[in-house]
């Protein structure tokens, strides 16, 4: 440790790793945030969508005359009209035959889910728009619906998209290692008939919204929205509505939670653009909660059939084979990317060498899915965690010891998985030890033994082991469709020294509460040696100002790598320019220049100094003092695009490095089950996070809390369920029980730091969390059941399901599991 002295004023202003006050808080705490519904333009009309009450139906006719006759109704746009205004349908990621799917901004000819939008009304007030929407007369001819993903794959099932000719959106085989050899030679084979991961959503508290103005003067389509991946949205909607990307202008400031769900608002935004064009005025849409539940997008539901696990008698798990059926809902929004994204974590946290998954994604008469926190990996991690617990339950292993034995070990990193992904760093066994210590596992084990039969209560201890893979290589899209010209990833940042020597940072990362203004200022402050509160980070996103990077945004646990990597690069370029200009002004060598607190000085000679205002002055308003070469080259406006070191994966073998970092979260929990009611109470809960170098530990801890609470809610309360006609049963917070302060346990958070060797700052993206509470709670319920009892086979465990598990009289293979030992 160096001692600061007057002679060497190199005292660092770095706040990396410190909980500096969040910059965003003051405005948000005083109601001064700028959310999408706070945006207002002159002549704005309010939009309201007319939605299908049917799961599947033919549209016979639409009559808008009663709606138009209301005073104050500006216009109504129907699906047919919208289609006529469009150039092409939305682009599809899927290969043939699903590539033929035609989706337009509003439904045409048919509705395919409860909530599918058939028309949109624009009126003077939000109340009037809603009234008018009720007066749009739509005649439907109901059709049989299919709501089960396995049944949807059946050739006899009702077909959603006739032009595709099948409900199968994607089908493929992933085969790494040699699972058949492993199953033939393993000491034990454990077979599990059916595992089901249910549908839910993080339901951000702010619903979707947008104010869209097709400006007839400039022909620019301005879109103030809370879409969280606007670069992707413009890629999709631009060609459809026939607007070049340089005339699309997405902006956003504060976003009221998103969790992936807000990637999905692009069809509505496209419809609003057409509505605005038709009406000749801005169209403002603020989604109602019921509309959000029906149509904003839900998480992926996945069913695993005929899972077979190869296990050695010493507990080594060799690998597994399964048939996965994923339910994409009625249209493919971002899908079928989920059909490959899970392969980032194909063996979970374990050293399994043989993985075989026959993967089918189908379309059903349900709300389209959209990436939901932990997208596609949490379903698969739930499978690997169920495999561990069911193997332990059936073969009599201790679930803790079995995990530790099969985890990727600390000395294995960088660890290459059977499909070529590289786990960068970590210490899973130690994380588990810390988590178990935090819940005082020995105390609860003793309590478990004390609680005899007849007490009416059971205690279960559960573990959820997850990887939070971050910074996607979009080359993985080629594994689902080799014709897609995608690969890599990136994020851009501008760093500017402003007129009076201020530092301005411009990032386009659409944060939704992750504190990007704060952490970017920390990173830049460390490089420019100034306190973060003196650095202005422009909030939000502006398409006309930010550099185009297709995969920019806040999703897939990437900001700490991509966003902060970009900020670091831009700040380093700015620092180099400042130093060069200071050296020129002070007639010193660049390596003699020190910078601190907005001042550059010559080392050892404090008298020779120039403030940033003087440096800015040389570029902006006094540039004749510079050499022509310097004038050409220096601007104090420095841009950096961070790109991760990826290569294009191999679509043939379906292998490659699909993601740069692997944060881990190991959770441990204790539950008490009431045998009479099936109620599950959480008695203790701990989460141990390892996301490498932490820039702002308090923000990291907040992310762990949030991911944990959403997972607990999903495990015990939250589910989207459809009846056989495709009616959604939970379309408001009355039926969809979001976790409340009365349900939420105190969450203990522990941490270790295993820096990533692959990132600019040692940090790993984090925040999604891998769905660990779903795994941990299922694991705890399993642990509370006796050795002969049922296996936990559903990710959603409300009271009635748990009661059934406890009271099921089924034994042996009737439970849906079978063990063959040799």
């Amino acid at each position: 440790m160096s001692t600061p002295s007057i002679e060497t004023p190199t005292e660092t202003r770095s706040t990396i790793g410190q909980n500096v006050p969040r910059v965003e808080d003051r405005r948000l705490l005083q109601g001064q945030g700028q959310f999408v519904d706070d945006v207002w333009m002159h002549r704005t009309g309010h939009a309201h969508f007319v939605r299908s009450p049917h799961g599947h139906a033919r549209i016979v006719s639409i009559d808008v005359s009663r709606a138009l006759s209301l005073d104050g109704v500006y216009t109504v746009l129907t699906g047919e009209e919208a289609k006529e205004m469009c150039a092409v349908p939305f682009f599809q990621i899927a290969p043939a035959p699903a590539a033929a799917l035609e989706e337009w901004p509003l439904a045409v000819d048919k509705v395919r889910y409860h909530g599918d939008a058939v028309a949109v009304v624009l009126a003077e007030t939000r109340e009037l728009a809603r009234d008018a929407a009720e007066l749009v007369d739509v005649e439907y001819e109901p059709l049989p619906a299919v709501v089960d993903t396995v049944k949807a794959a059946d050739p006899d099932a009702p077909i959603l998209h006739d032009v595709v000719g099948t409900n199968v959106a994607w089908h493929g085989e992933y085969d790494w290692g040699d699972i058949d050899f492993a199953l033939q030679n393993a000491d034990h084979v454990v077979e599990i008939d059916r595992l089901h991961f249910h549908r839910f959503s993080s339901t951000p508290l702010e619903c979707n919204g947008a104010v869209v103005h097709w400006d007839p003067g400039t022909n620019i389509v301005s879109i103030s929205s809370n879409n969280q991946m606007p670069m992707f949205a413009s890629m999709v909607i631009g060609p459809t509505i026939g607007v070049a990307s340089n005339r699309l202008s997405f902006t956003s400031q504060d976003i009221g939670g998103a969790f992936g769900i807000k990637i999905g608002s692009y069809p509505q935004i496209a419809a609003l653009a057409l509505l605005s064009k038709k009406a000749g005025r801005p169209a403002k849409w603020t989604e109602y909660r019921t509309d959000h539940m029906l149509s904003a997008g839900q998480g992926n539901e996945r069913t695993f059939l005929d899972t077979k696990v190869a296990v050695q008698s010493d507990g080594t798990i060799l690998g597994f084979k399964t048939r996965a059926f994923d339910d994409a809902g009625a249209y493919l929004h971002y899908e079928p990317l989920g059909a490959v994204i899970w392969t980032q974590v194909s063996p979970g946290c374990y050293r399994m060498k043989h993985v075989h998954v026959e993967y089918t994604e189908t379309m059903t008469n349900k709300c389209p899915t959209i990436p939901n926190r932990g997208y596609s990996r949490l379903q698969h991690l739930w499978l690997t965690e169920r495999i561990i617990d069911i193997v332990a339950h059936e073969l009599g292993f201790d679930p803790v010891a079995l995990r530790k034995q099969n985890y990727v070990q600390p000395e294995d990193y960088p660890y290459e998985t059977p499909n070529g992904c590289v786990y960068d760093s970590g210490d899973l066994p130690r994380s588990l030890d810390i988590a178990l210590e935090m819940i005082d596992v020995e105390k609860w084990r003793a309590k478990q033994r004390e609680l005899g039969h007849g007490s009416g209560k059971r205690i279960g201890i559960g573990i959820g082991s997850t990887l939070d893979s971050g910074t996607n290589n979009f080359g993985q899209a080629r594994i689902v469709n080799p014709d897609l010209p995608f690969s890599g990833n990136g994020e851009a940042c501008f760093a500017k020294l402003d007129l009076y020597g201020e530092v301005n940072i411009n990032l386009g990362t659409t944060p939704q509460g992750q504190g990007h203004e704060t952490t970017a200022a920390q990173v830049v402050g460390a490089i420019l040696n100034m306190p973060p509160d003196q650095i202005q980070v422009t909030a939000g996103f502006n398409q006309q100002q930010n550099t185009y990077v297709a995969f920019s945004g806040t999703y897939a646990s990437q900001f700490a790598v991509t966003g902060l990597g970009a900020a670091q690069g831009a700040a380093e370029k700015l620092r180099a320019e400042i130093i060069e200009l200071a050296a020129y002004a002070l007639q010193a060598d660049a390596d003699q220049i020190e910078m601190a607190d907005g001042m550059c000085s010559v080392r050892g000679d404090a008298e020779r100094a120039i403030p940033y205002i003087g440096i800015a002055n040389m570029i902006y308003s006094n540039n004749a003092v510079l050499t022509p070469e310097m004038r050409d080259r220096l601007s104090l406006n420095c841009r950096h695009v961070y790109t991760p070191p990826f290569q294009v994966p191999d679509p043939e073998t379906k292998t490659g490095n699909l993601t740069l970092t692997y944060a881990s979260q190991i959770h441990a929990c204790v539950v008490e089950i009431d045998e009479e009611t099936g109620e599950v109470k959480i008695l203790d809960y701990a989460a141990v996070d390892d996301c490498g170098k932490r820039i702002h530990p308090q923000i990291v801890e907040g992310q762990v809390h949030g991911a944990t609470a959403l997972g607990i809610g999903a495990a015990l309360y939250e589910a989207f369920e459809y009846d056989e006609t495709g009616q959604l049963q939970q379309a408001s917070f009355y039926d969809y029980h979001a976790l409340t302060a009365l349900d939420a346990p105190d969450i203990k958070v522990g941490d270790i730091e295993s820096p990533s060797p692959f990132t600019p700052n040692g940090a790993k993206g984090m925040g999604e969390g891998g769905g660990a509470p779903l795994h941990a709670i299922c694991s705890a319920i399993q642990n509370a059941l006796g050795p002969e009892d049922a296996v936990v086979s559903d990710s959603h465990n409300p009271w009635e399901r748990v009661w059934t598990l406890v009271h099921s009289g089924e034994r042996g293979e009737a439970r849906g599991v079978k063990v063959t030992s040799r």
């Binding site: 006050p21 969040r22 965003e24 808080d25 003051r26 405005r27 948000l28 705490l29 005083q30 109601g31 945030g33 700028q34 959310f35 519904d37 706070d38 209301l70 939000r126 109340e127 009037l128 009234d131 008018a132 009720e134 007066l135 993080s202 339901t203 951000p204 508290l205 702010e206 619903c207 504060d254 976003i255 009221g256 939670g257 969790f259 603020t286 109602y288 909660r289 939704q512 509460g513 992750q514 923000i699 801890e701 907040g702 809390h705 949030g706 944990t708 609470a709 959403l710 607990i712 408001s732 917070f733 009355y734 979001a738 976790l739 409340t740 302060a741 009365l742 939420a744 105190d746 969450i747």
Partner: protein
């Protein structure tokens, strides 16, 4: 034909200021506050009185402003989140949320801050159970409530310390 209803004049006090307006009889108080008065701090998170993002204080009582019609505010004293900090100085409740990371996206925050303010006015010494119950009608999807509860506890402690100092 849809009847948009009648309009009526209302007079009330908003964050200490006397205000007059004409409202549609059927307009919800929250839409009146946001759209007519232009006070954007009060948020809407559901249509059903479930989430509490629109919580305000009306005549000293905590109210979900989507569960009240605008004309019912006639003669009332309304406090919204904009009325809390004076001269840019955060209240102890706001300060505690800032220090304890009691907010992330900030969308539910105004409602939760109003609920916490209401609790501590009535009960400066809340138990943990009191604190949990005070925000049971507020949904937060970011924080898991852990730091929300810590923030309210910290605000209560700060309030007690402040009271001792004054005494």
């Amino acid at each position: 034909m849809v009847d948009a209803g009648t309009v009526q004049a209302v007079e009330f006090t908003l964050n200490g200021e006397k205000t007059k307006a004409t409202v549609e009889s059927r307009q919800l108080l929250v839409h009146f506050i946001r759209d007519t008065l232009g006070m954007k701090g009060t948020h809407v998170g559901c249509d059903t009185g479930s989430c509490g993002a629109c919580s305000v204080i009306v005549d000293g009582k905590l109210v979900k402003s989507c569960m009240m019609l605008a004309p019912q505010a006639d003669g009332a004293e309304i406090e919204t989140v904009e009325g809390l900090a004076q001269g840019g100085e955060l209240t102890p409740v706001q300060q505690a949320f800032h220090e304890q990371h009691g907010l992330q996206c900030g969308y539910c925050t105004p409602g939760i801050v109003m609920a916490a303010t209401f609790l501590l006015r009535r009960n400066p010494n809340p138990t943990e159970e009191d604190i949990r119950r005070s925000v049971r009608g507020n949904i937060c999807r970011c924080t898991g409530y852990v730091n929300v509860l810590r923030s309210i506890e910290a605000a209560a402690q700060a309030g007690r310390a402040g009271a001792e100092e004054a005494a």
